[in-house]
């Protein structure tokens, strides 16, 4: 078999600040998993093996955001060990849900959550990997989509450009025959702004897209925001963007407004400090 002749690319899977859900997608490939290990050498994948490696990696799948000083050090080190660095999931690509703290007073929040905040070494912000090192490809989603992961690995092996479309979720919705939940249902759906890849799952079950795949190319946030704002209070529209991809550039303005609004109105997180500056 050809797979046995060609040297197997050395693949690592690592995590920074994240929930592990994205790397588990690799295990979710199930029947493809064995064929994959015949073609790729998994040298680092803590969710699957306790064997550890220090690289070098042909391909490194990085999950999670850069949230602590150690993680920042680690990602810089890993980049030096890696030929092709792929970020997987909203945390690695956009900073994740934890990036909501980027607009808050981090020491105050830390003090509000942990009994001994000094034990927790944390950066003031949770940021995407690409803010620190060069990223060669990204898989979007919270979590990522198994078909996209498989396509990425297949494309790497064949040598083609991975077919990861930058179009909106709407196209897949229409191809599936979903009825638009925004136009026919009046739901505040972010599908038109969101990069495809999920298969339009949420609208297929009658609920609005909440942009877990993040903003697409040409995402026109002000226009949809303004349209939704005709029916909903501005803060409610802002809040739609304060999700897994809040720190992504196109979503940042409304997400920041939402966080600052919540911050200003919520007594609890502020109790310990001087967080509210909005």
């Amino acid at each position: 078999m050809e797979a046995e002749i060609t040297p197997r690319p050395r693949v690592g899977v690592v995590k920074l600040a994240s929930c592990d859900g994205c790397q588990l997608t690799l295990l979710d490939l199930e029947e493809q998993l064995l064929p994959l290990t015949e073609r790729f050498e998994l040298i680092e994948f803590p969710e699957a093996t306790s064997r550890r490696s220090s690289g070098p990696y042909d391909v490194l799948l990085v999950e999670g955001s850069v949230s602590t000083p150690e993680q920042l050090e680690e990602i810089v080190h890993l980049r030096g060990q890696t030929r092709l660095l792929v970020t997987i999931g909203a945390c690695a690509n956009a900073g994740g849900i934890q990036a909501l703290r980027n607009w808050a007073d981090e020491p105050a929040w830390r003090a509000a959550v942990y009994p001994t905040p000094d034990y927790v070494a944390s950066l003031a912000t949770s940021t995407p990997v690409a803010e620190h090192v060069q990223v060669d490809a990204e898989l979007r989603g919270c979590p990522i989509d198994p078909r996209q992961l498989l396509e990425l690995l297949t494309a790497l092996r064949i040598g083609r450009r991975p077919q990861l479309d930058g179009e909106s979720v709407c196209l897949e919705c229409k191809r599936r025959g979903n009825v638009c939940v925004l136009v026919a249902g009046g739901q505040p759906c972010l599908g038109p702004l969101t990069q495809t890849g999920c298969g339009a799952i949420c609208p297929a079950y009658g609920r609005a897209c909440y942009a877990c795949f993040g903003p697409r190319e040409q995402a026109n946030v002000p226009s949809l925001h303004g349209w939704l704002g005709k029916e909903l209070p501005q803060v409610q529209v802002d809040r739609l963007f304060a999700g897994f991809n809040a720190w992504s550039t196109p979503f940042r303005d409304p997400a920041e407004r939402a966080v600052r609004h919540a911050h200003g109105n919520a007594a609890e997180p502020d109790a310990a400090g001087s967080g509210a500056d909005a």
């Binding site: 077919q163 191809r175 002000p222």
Partner: protein
């Protein structure tokens, strides 16, 4: 409005609609009709009349659609929903075939369309118009899509005349409705107690004969006429000024409103997905882990997508305003020249299903309002997007003696064997390749082929020579697919389709001076022209080749440049940046042309290179006395299919793959060199 009727209309009581459905089922047809689902009327399988949405009616406005229950026995008391019938005639995903690779061997197997026998129940007049538009787009051109034709031929059309309209409807102004006049097998009009029914085809007559309904009485016929007339009247104030619209719209390509609408447009593609005539597609690969078995699939795409007009070197329509203008001008203007009809049928879906309620009627009124003076486009409009007569697709002089008829366009690749891959410059190489299908050798200068590797998107490559039973393709390693060519060993197989497109009209140059201007790799498609001219050198006047390249090392065909100079071609070379070894001219290629004068000399020019370079060159050539009708350029655009059905390479009314890539500058008019088209 009086309804035209071949035979006198009959009346089918509501309770007997199931008899019609039974007849259709007995003919082995699956009946597709309207159902209420998820808050909208969608088209799906109807097993009996009980599946129909009794009592439902719709309200539509820009960006808004709602279904509402009313106290009515009617089963078709609504207008169009989000889905057009293209879902069934040109489905969202169509398997095209399978490409396999076994070592160096490749094989291409084309999927055979096996459409179900369908009956479309409840097709509105605007939707019939859309089916007829699809016929022109997908089945009436030089390439007719087998899958579409089979699906269309297997679908019976049971029309439903509208007796009500919603605020987004504007069929009257597009001339497509509400009267059903053509393109149906049976046509029904719904009254409270049943349907007035008539046949519009032999198959319809046959079904009607079996159904044997009683005659519609005068009152019933009057109700139909009144209902349809009222429907028409209700649309009086919600149309577009379609008269003269194509010319007005193309005169307003620089209207600032394009930018304003782009501020609202999401480029989400919903308008194109719900449009019943939008036909653009792209092909994707689903491969196994080794790339040995690759299933190709054609799926709906949209000119609003970022990759739609992208090529290796950049994006021809990077901005939302470019994409919106492309969509609207194609739909309402250039569609006419391209397909002899408007691309819009007035169904209003793009208005209702736009998530931010952009209304094409408002945009058209703002961008292209009627001229104030009635007979106005004052000066004769520049030739814009019209094919010149007599530009034969094949030259009289050919470097391939066997040419007589152009090969039929094919959607499937045939196998070709690599003879060699040889470097040409630092980033270009020659792919020397022997096709199994001899038709590929009958290429004329300027034509191209699609090179198809299993697992990759096919790549359009211009033919730079045909000799000894093989094609010479000069390729720049610009993307993954072209990069993969570089590792092909002699004996390896790839797929080829072609020859494709319209090449250089060398016959126009007979007896005249010939000016050939090439930039960089643009010399590749011009080389066969030089070959052809040299083959019959005495039939042409003076021949100049002006060749510009970035650096001396980026020039192609170095030995041949000398050989051509010795064979009666004046070869002038110029580079942007030179090293110490370069003794020739430094600058841009137009400098070579600045000192020339072809006034009164009937010279013909062939130009190929980056679009900016071609723009500057055309300007220099015109100054030097060559008219736009005699300057020919080879255009680059994103090509996916190569046969004029995927829509990617659209420029104005042309598919670059099929109508070009070579155009007279006069044909392109002011689309040539324009940003964002």
């Amino acid at each position: 409005m009086v309804i035209a009727a071949a035979s006198s209309p009959a009346f089918l009581p509501r309770g007997e609609l199931d008899r019609l459905l039974d007849l259709l089922h007995d003919d082995g047809r699956t009946v597709i009709g309207p159902m209420a689902r998820d808050g909208a009327i969608v088209y799906d399988e109807i097993r009996s009349a009980a599946d129909l949405p009794v009592g439902w009616t719709d309200e539509q406005a820009p960006g808004r659609y709602r279904l509402r229950q009313v106290d009515s026995p009617r089963q078709f008391n609504f207008t169009v929903g989000p889905q057009g019938w293209k879902r069934f005639t040109q489905p969202p995903r169509v398997p095209l075939g399978t490409a396999t690779r076994d070592g160096v061997k490749v094989e291409f197997e084309t999927a055979t369309p096996e459409p179900r026998r369908l009956a479309f129940l409840g097709v509105r007049a605007c939707e019939i118009a859309a089916l007829l538009v699809q016929d022109r787009v997908l089945a009436a051109g030089p390439f007719a899509d087998d899958d579409f034709r089979a699906r269309r031929a297997n679908a019976l059309v049971v029309a439903m005349q509208c007796t009500r309209a919603v605020s987004t409807c504007f069929c009257t102004s597009m001339g497509t409705g509400p009267e059903v006049t053509d393109g149906y097998d049976l046509a029904l009009t719904e009254l409270d107690d049943g349907f007035v029914i008539k046949a519009g085809s032999q198959e319809g007559e046959r079904l009607l004969g079996k159904l044997a309904p009683g005659k519609a009485d005068e009152a019933q016929q009057a109700s139909v006429a009144d209902g349809v007339a009222a429907c028409r009247a209700s649309m009086a104030d919600q149309g577009v000024a379609a008269e003269g619209l194509p010319a007005r719209l193309m005169d307003r390509l620089d209207n600032p409103r394009w930018m304003e609408v782009a501020d609202r447009c999401l480029a989400c593609a919903n308008c194109t997905m719900v449009c019943p005539t939008c036909f653009c597609t792209s092909v994707g690969n689903v491969s196994d882990l080794d790339g040995a078995i690759n299933h190709t699939e054609r799926r709906w795409d949209s000119c609003f997508n970022g990759d739609f007009a992208r090529v290796a070197g950049g994006n021809f329509r990077p901005r939302r305003q470019d994409r919106y203008r492309q969509w609207l001008t194609h739909k309402f203007a250039t569609w006419h020249e391209q397909f002899g009809t408007s691309g819009c049928v007035g169904c209003g879906r793009c208005i209702a299903w736009c998530p931010v309620g952009i209304d094409v009627r408002e945009e058209l009124a703002a961008i292209a309002p009627p001229y104030e003076e009635p007979a106005a486009p004052p000066t004769p409009a520049p030739i814009r997007g019209a094919m010149l007569d007599g530009l034969s697709p094949l030259p009289m002089v050919s470097y391939s003696p066997a040419v007589s008829q152009p090969a039929p366009l094919r959607a499937d690749s045939s196998v070709a064997t690599v003879r060699a891959v040889a470097p040409e410059t630092a980033d270009t190489f020659m792919l020397w390749i022997e096709p199994r299908d001899a038709a590929l050798l009958q290429a004329s200068p300027g034509q191209f082929v699609m090179v198809d590797q299993p697992g990759f998107s096919p790549v359009p490559i211009s033919i730079s020579r045909v000799a000894d039973g093989a094609l010479w393709l000069t390729v720049r390693a610009a993307g993954a697919a072209t990069q993969a060519f570089t590792s092909l060993e002699p004996g390896a197989q790839v797929g080829l389709r072609g020859p494709l497109g319209r090449g250089w009209p060398i016959d126009r140059a007979l007896g005249r001076d010939v000016v050939i201007v090439a930039g960089g790799i643009g010399l590749a498609p011009l080389r066969p022209t030089i070959d052809a001219v040299l083959a019959q050198r005495d039939r042409f006047g003076q021949v100049l080749l002006a060749y510009g390249a970035r650096t001396p090392g980026d020039r192609l065909y170095l030995k041949e440049l000398d050989a051509w100079a010795n064979a009666g071609v004046e070869v002038a070379q110029i580079v942007d940046r030179a090293g110490p070894e370069w003794l020739g001219q430094v600058g841009v290629v137009t400098q070579v042309l600045d000192r020339r004068d072809w006034h009164g000399r009937d010279a013909v020019a062939f130009v190929c290179g980056p679009e900016r370079m071609m723009q500057a060159t055309v300007s220099a050539l015109r100054t030097a006395g060559i008219t736009r009708r005699r300057i020919f350029v080879s255009m680059e655009r994103h090509m996916d299919c190569g046969i004029g059905i995927c829509g990617h390479c659209q420029i104005g009314p042309f598919f670059v793959c099929r109508d070009g890539p070579v155009f007279a500058v006069a044909e392109l008019g002011d689309l040539f060199g324009r940003e964002g088209v």
